[in-house]
């Protein structure tokens, strides 16, 4: 029996070894980026340089999809909604440089870019929504390593956020900065995640407290018990109502209640 299948085993195994060795080499090559040269990456679209307008008040929104307004009615978002709240005559110019999916590292890179300098320098209020994509990037199987990954991620986030705030302050010492806190779209599902998220928000609050004219806008408790109405159909991004809630919270924190 075995004598008969022996040649088969030998052939099959040897052939597989060849395949696997090839695969291994390919994997190494791919990971070292050797397969793809810089030229193959499509060139970025031409930048359309626009000058910031010289309106009475300039609001600049930076950050991720929540800054961008994903889930909201077209062309709205926190910035527009806030502008509408404080000034119904719409003399306020809102510029949105948010990039859906951006992480704190993307944001740090974005504020460094020379083409964005003018927007930052001209703004009176800079709304920043960042961190959500850093946090969702954490994947781990168990609690201990999750905790470790969380700390690691937060440290990176903090570094990037500090760099971002410094850059903004260098370009514009006067502007009011508002950091939008994270809400938890999965609130009831995972205790560990909620705890991490609260810790994240708390530490972000500390960073805000350390800066001049920098406010932290909480959203966690506001959203917690109203996920069904405050979240959009994708169960992740805020809905129009959600955005309105954030904008009103922003108004309350910055301007108080008349």
């Amino acid at each position: 029996m075995i004598k008969k299948i022996w040649p088969l085993i030998l052939l099959l195994s040897s052939a597989l070894i060849l395949v696997f060795v090839t695969g291994l080499i390919t994997a190494i090559a791919i990971t070292n980026g050797g397969e793809k040269s810089q030229e193959e990456i499509p060139a970025p679209p031409e930048n359309i340089q626009t000058e910031p307008s010289s309106a009475a008040k300039n609001i600049l929104v930076l950050g991720d999809s929540i800054g961008y307004g994903v889930g909201d009615e077209p062309d709205m978002g926190i910035g527009k909604r806030y502008a509408a709240l404080i000034d119904s005559e719409e003399t306020i110019e809102v510029t949105n440089l948010s990039v859906s999916g951006a992480t704190s590292a993307d944001l740090a890179a974005l504020v460094e870019a020379p083409e964005n300098e003018a927007f930052i320098a001209a703004a009176d209020l800079i709304i920043i929504s960042i961190g959500g994509n850093d946090l969702t990037g954490i994947q781990s199987e168990d609690v201990l390593s999750l905790d470790m990954a969380f700390q690691e991620t937060f440290n990176t986030y903090q570094k990037n956020l500090d760099a971002t705030l410094n850059r903004i302050r260098n370009l514009n010492p006067e502007a009011q900065i508002a950091l939008i806190g994270l809400n938890n779209p999965y609130s009831e599902l995972d205790v560990q995640n909620s705890q991490n998220l609260l810790e994240w928000n708390y530490k972000t609050g500390l960073i805000a407290a350390a800066g001049l004219k920098t406010a932290y806008i909480p959203t966690y408790d506001q959203f917690k018990d109203h996920l069904e109405t405050y979240l959009a159909a994708d169960q992740f991004h805020p809905s129009s109502i959600g955005y309105q809630v954030i904008a009103e919270e922003l108004d309350r924190v910055l301007n108080g209640i008349d």
């Binding site: 075995i2 022996w6 085993i9 030998l10 099959l12 195994s13 040897s14 597989l16 070894i17 395949v19 696997f20 060795v21 090839t22 695969g23 291994l24 390919t26 994997a27 190494i28 791919i30 990971t31 070292n32 980026g33 397969e35 793809k36 810089q38 990456i41 499509p42 970025p44 679209p45 031409e46 930048n47 359309i48 340089q49 999809s65 994903v70 440089l97 990039v99 859906s100 999916g101 951006a102 590292a105 993307d106 890179a109 974005l110 870019a113 964005n116 990037g137 954490i138 994947q139 199987e141 201990l144 390593s145 470790m148 990954a149 690691e152 991620t153 069904e228 159909a233 994708d234 169960q235």
Partner: protein, 333 residues
């Protein structure tokens, strides 16, 4: 030499190890596929109840996401570094929409890749340990080492034949893992998923995950890559197991030592970021597949190259010590 190798393969086969391993795999894979299928259905249900929308319309969500991404590409404000990864995601989404496949639907090949990705640092090494732990120590504990070593064959040839037989069988086991996980999970998912595009090729630049060199491959190609890495890990584990098997003269001890190393190594991983020496331990380098997925926390100084070289050194060193010890050893059983 070929005859010696055939003899060793014969022994491995007649010990029915392979049947035990196949049995274990069938149980694991069936449970996991069922679990995944169950969770998937549960998620769909929950979503439908939650949104009250009746049916779960992934297609409109995916289309919305696709449009969103396409708009983003047109936006002048996104940093250059984001473009490549956005394009990758767009191409993936297009594939799903065009082929009418829900991206979160489990497929057989996806499951098979997930299975080895999860198993590469513990389950698969353990399977290799089962296969290899008694290769030499078993001969010592039954005394058959005496009839084996009193033939007119030099000792190094005997050990080499054992090593080659082990490599052949390990390779077969990796193939069996692949075939079983694809076939069994297909029974649950009814979806092969060979052609689905997968992003891979994340590289580390200055300690940051860099997506510039990311390329799209089909899931079949991707699974070949993953299985190649799994095979490499298995071979290294086999070499280390062979060494332990030579050193301890007792199969139970050999399995114990290796389990302790594997499980202890998992704990050691928690100190990875603070304690530099831990990253030179073989167990902390087993999870090679994470370097392809890009969903990991980069740890200073650890990359695919580093891990492959570290594992390779462990394997070679084990073999060298193994051959040295085996050649000089007094057989006193």
């Amino acid at each position: 030499m070929l005859i010696l190798i055939r003899n060793e393969v014969t022994k491995l086969l007649l010990k029915k190890k392979l049947i035990l391993i196949i049995g274990l795999l069938i149980i694991f894979i069936t449970l996991l596929s069922y679990g995944q299928q169950y969770t998937y259905e549960k998620n769909i249900d929950r979503f439908e109840n939650f949104s009250g929308a009746g049916t779960y319309d992934w297609k409109s969500l995916a289309t919305q996401r696709l449009n969103d991404l396409e708009n983003r590409l047109d936006s002048p404000y996104i940093p250059d570094s984001g473009i490549a990864s956005t394009e990758i995601e767009i191409r993936q989404l297009r594939y799903f929409i065009e082929n009418d496949i829900n991206p979160i639907t489990p497929s057989a090949v996806k499951f098979s890749v997930d299975f080895v990705e999860q198993g590469i640092s513990l389950l698969i090494p353990l399977i290799i340990v089962i296969l290899a732990a008694d290769l030499v120590s078993g001969e010592f504990s039954t005394g058959t080492i005496k009839v084996l070593l009193t033939r007119a064959v030099p000792r190094w040839k005997i050990l080499l034949s054992k090593l080659i037989a082990l490599i052949l069988m390990t390779t077969l086991v990796v193939l069996i893992i692949g075939i079983l996980s694809v076939l069994i999970s297909y029974l649950f998912f009814r979806q092969w998923g060979f052609n689905e595009p997968v992003a891979t090729g994340f590289s580390l630049i200055d300690g940051q995950l860099n997506a510039d060199s990311v390329i799209l491959v089909t899931r079949f190609q991707y699974s070949l890559l993953i299985y190649s890495l799994t095979w490499y890990v298995s071979i290294v584990i086999a070499a280390i197991t062979l060494l332990i098997s030579i050193l301890v003269e007792n199969t139970a001890t050999a399995i114990g030592v290796l389990m302790a190393a594997l499980i202890g190594g998992q704990f050691l991983q928690f100190f990875l970021s603070d304690w530099a020496i831990v990253k030179f331990f073989f167990v902390t380098n087993l999870d090679l597949t994470r370097y392809l997925t890009g969903s990991y926390q980069p740890i200073g100084g650890m990359s695919l190259n580093f891990s492959i070289i570290t594992l390779g050194l462990w394997g070679l060193l084990s073999l060298m010590i193994g051959f040295m010890v085996f050649n000089r050893k007094d057989v006193l059983v």
